[in-house]
Amino acid sequence: METKKLELPEYIIQFYLDTGIEELYPPQEEAVEKGLLDNKNLLAAIPTASGKTLISELAMLNSISTGGKCLYIVPLRALASEKFERFKEFSSIGVKVGISTGDFDSTDEWLGSNDIIVATSEKADSLLRNETSWMKDITTIVVDEIHLLDSVDRGPTLEITIAKLLRLNPNSKIIGLSATIGNAGEIAGWLDAELVQSQWRPIELYEGVFLDDNINFKQSQKPIKNIVKDTAVNLVIDTIDENGQCLVFESSRRNCAGFAKKAKSKVGKSLDKGLLDELNNIAEEVLETSDTETTKELASCIKRGTAFHHAGLNSAQRKIVEDNFRNNKIKVISSTPTLAAGLNLPARRVIVRNYKRYDPNFGMQPIPVLDYKQMSGRAGRPSLDPYGESVLISHTYNEFTDLLDRYIDAEPEDILSKLGTENALRTHVLSTIVNGFATTRQGMVDFMGSSFFAYQQQKWSLIDVVDDCIEFLQDNEMIKDDGEHLYATRLGQVISTLYIDPLSGAIIIDKLKKADKVNDMTMLHIICSTPDMRQLYLRSKEYEKINEYVMTHSDEFVEVPNPFKSIEYEWFLGEVKTALLINEWIDEKTLDDITAEFGVGEGDINALSDISEWLMHSAVNLAKLTDLDADKAQELEKRIHHGVNKDLIQLVSISNIGRVRARKLYEAGIQSVSDIKNTDLYTLSNYLGKKTAYKVLEQLGVEPEDNQQIDEEPESIKSYSGNYQGQKTFNDF
């Protein structure tokens, strides 16, 4: 179908013609035929890169042209930014786009003037809880990656959010975008949507299994030169020799970094000098983002054209890796499977180096077909590659045939709602009452009856769980029953808008009441013992150290479980370990030391400090509400935000001054805002560098006097040794 034949206003058609889209892809055409531009709901379950985004765009722009407002829901923040950047291109045809990130207890009313709002599912849920007014004006809802209904962590929130949105806006149109899954029809049924299902891809995908020096595809074989022992490295070299790029999927972070390091020397040799020079610059850029061991490793890989990508990297590093892979400077990324679910980062060849993943209950388990298809679907960049290839690696003939059956010839699994447990449901039962979507037990059961869980499984199996949740909320005085109606107490309302699990709220209040005296550790452990905290795993060799800490500081914890109850006690030690990490963060330990001591990545520290800051913020609100002492929590909230000791709080509140700079100033006797005001630019420059010093003074309303000649900061002399740790050069002899 030609673009110009679409029943859309002229200016929208012109927009697409101008960007070179003259013809629709077959699945897009099918979507239009099935009523995409009429008042029909639609579920598109089609492969990656076959034009899902465009389907949603047509529906949104169509709706906006008649005065509508659209909400675009994504699973990840990174994806939210990616979509936001794309939709901003519509500004040329007068469409306004907003992105909703930020704290969970804000309503973002100002976003209401936009035509398209991009939000994560959690943020969309919290906007509903905060009764954001423009949520009622939504006419088109797009749910990207809707197959994540299957996820234990995010699925329940996603389906409740969809259910609430549809309840709030019964006439709105919903578009679901999904990977190819086994039971797409079932989701379509739930949404009352037309189903577009197809295997069509804009670029051919060949799926193969490697065995005995060959990639074995369905119709053909491709010999791979055996250069080194590691098959995956040989496959990488082969791709680069043919001017392609590679994505390598690994099972763990450690293996990711390991593979990038392993491949770098061979990859580096295949690159020309001009590119290597550019890569050197990129590596320098990475080194500036942080000074941890991981950063140095990443930089040394990038110098040779490889990189690794996982949640342990900080966001700046991830962006550098992604951008430079897109512009074809970095040739290989080895990544954890999370990359497959999220970003649009295709490559000529995808290598699934490890198709097993660790499951705490069952040991190493083969990944689901759905995950494999998500990874292999990343192969082939539309209009850039002639084809895409995905390769699984087998070592024996038996494994080879097993992989063919298990993945290449297999259909993806069905997805299953994960809503049916008390832990998943508790928070949603509360918010449903708080926001008035249900005011009686029967109303609650009815509302939950509109969930995907109830559609897919038995509605009655939800009833028991709903009752348990209601009982829990009543026991903890978050909701009350006046005989006729269920209504939320002030406490219930606060917990719902804080967007924490009601159980977390109950734990925080309970422990604050029991605590005699509250010091840093007491408070940190309280928030680390809530289900909202992401606990660190206790490794067996750490048992002794953490145990020792607990013994010597036992009076700082509200309760210490009996060490003979080993499971409970080990869980407790894990909480303490997490609290200790936060404690080091606010004691101004360097990121490098923390990553080394706790065996985590920099990205983990950021994530943990974000969560704990949020929980501490919640603790402040809850303490105030229940007339408990909130001072300690308030102080800790600020300290966690900046990662500093108490004495620096004033200094770090100035922008441009972070934890390291603040400590330098403080040690030099400049300890408060007024101290800074009384310091001249020259002296300040010694600690902050001239540019920053200037900005800081300006910000504090002091006219910086620049009458003294200050030499520019000396360029820090970076020797090549940033590359190989501890490597000397001949300049040293």
Partner: protein, 245 residues
């Protein structure tokens, strides 16, 4: 002028020796033969290379400097059989070189030597310990080390030369006593080296029966050996890494 004929395998070996560190070289010619001095871009490893005119079947040259792209030459040598002869002649006016291998004839454009990194100054080092051993022994030890680590310790203790690598979990060590070596001048020294470099360097060295190592305490290592029946001399110099902990 420069005109020479040489065995293809010998030229290929020579290119390999240099290309482990650099892609482009300044080739010095004189009536005595050819020589190269080069340092890798990171300033971590150097090589000095001399090939006497007697290594050639036919050799005629005066003092000059030629800029060569090693990758191009090794591509060209891809067509050569082991026993082929390669003859080269510099066309001074057109800035290129004719290369004939069997019935193939190539015209190779040359690089302006001034665009290639200049020859390094070779540091004068006092290296107290000297070990002479078979190249394959060295290669074997390095290969074993590569499996578990990215760096390797080389040292001498009493009358034993040892090579040791320690990974995150595993460790490998090779001890060679005086009687397993060709010669040993002992001194209590040890230095740590990056295997990224070392493995590349020992590859060409492994073809030699006698490799001379000179080691100091946390100092660069010298790796010297001969090729072409003693008519060629190769010397690598590799800077150490600092031992952590």
């Amino acid at each position: 002028m420069f005109r020479a004929t040489i065995d293809a395998y010998l030229l290929r070996d020579s290119v390999e020796i240099l290309s482990v560190l650099v892609d482009e070289i300044r080739l010095r010619t004189s009536s005595d033969g050819i020589s190269v001095k080069a340092v890798d871009p990171a300033n971590v490893a150097m090589v000095t290379f001399n090939l006497d005119s007697s290594a050639f079947d036919d050799f005629e040259a005066d003092e000059s400097e030629i800029g060569l792209d090693l990758t191009k030459i090794s591509d060209i040598l891809g067509v050569a059989d082991k026993n082929d002869k390669v003859s080269m002649e510099l066309n001074e006016n057109s800035q290129n070189m004719s290369i004939n291998i069997g019935s193939f004839s190539y015209t190779l454009s040359l690089l302006d030597p001034s665009t290639i990194r200049s020859e390094p100054k070779i540091p004068q080092l006092e290296l107290p310990a000297e070990i002479i051993l078979n190249g394959t022994d060295l290669r074997r030890a390095v290969k074993a080390a590569e499996k578990i680590s990215d760096h390797m310790l080389l040292g001498v203790n009493d009358d034993v030369f040892y090579m040791e690598a320690e990974g995150d979990t595993d460790k490998v060590r090779l001890d060679l006593a005086r009687d397993q070596l060709i010669d040993l001048k002992p001194d209590d020294v040890r230095s740590l080296f990056s295997l990224d470099y070392l493995s590349d360097i020992v590859k060409p060295a492994s073809k030699s029966n006698e490799v001379v190592l000179e080691i100091g305490q946390d100092f660069p290592i010298k790796i010297n050996f001969e090729i072409a029946n003693g008519t060629g001399k190769v010397g690598y110099l590799l800077a150490p890494r600092i031992e952590s902990e």
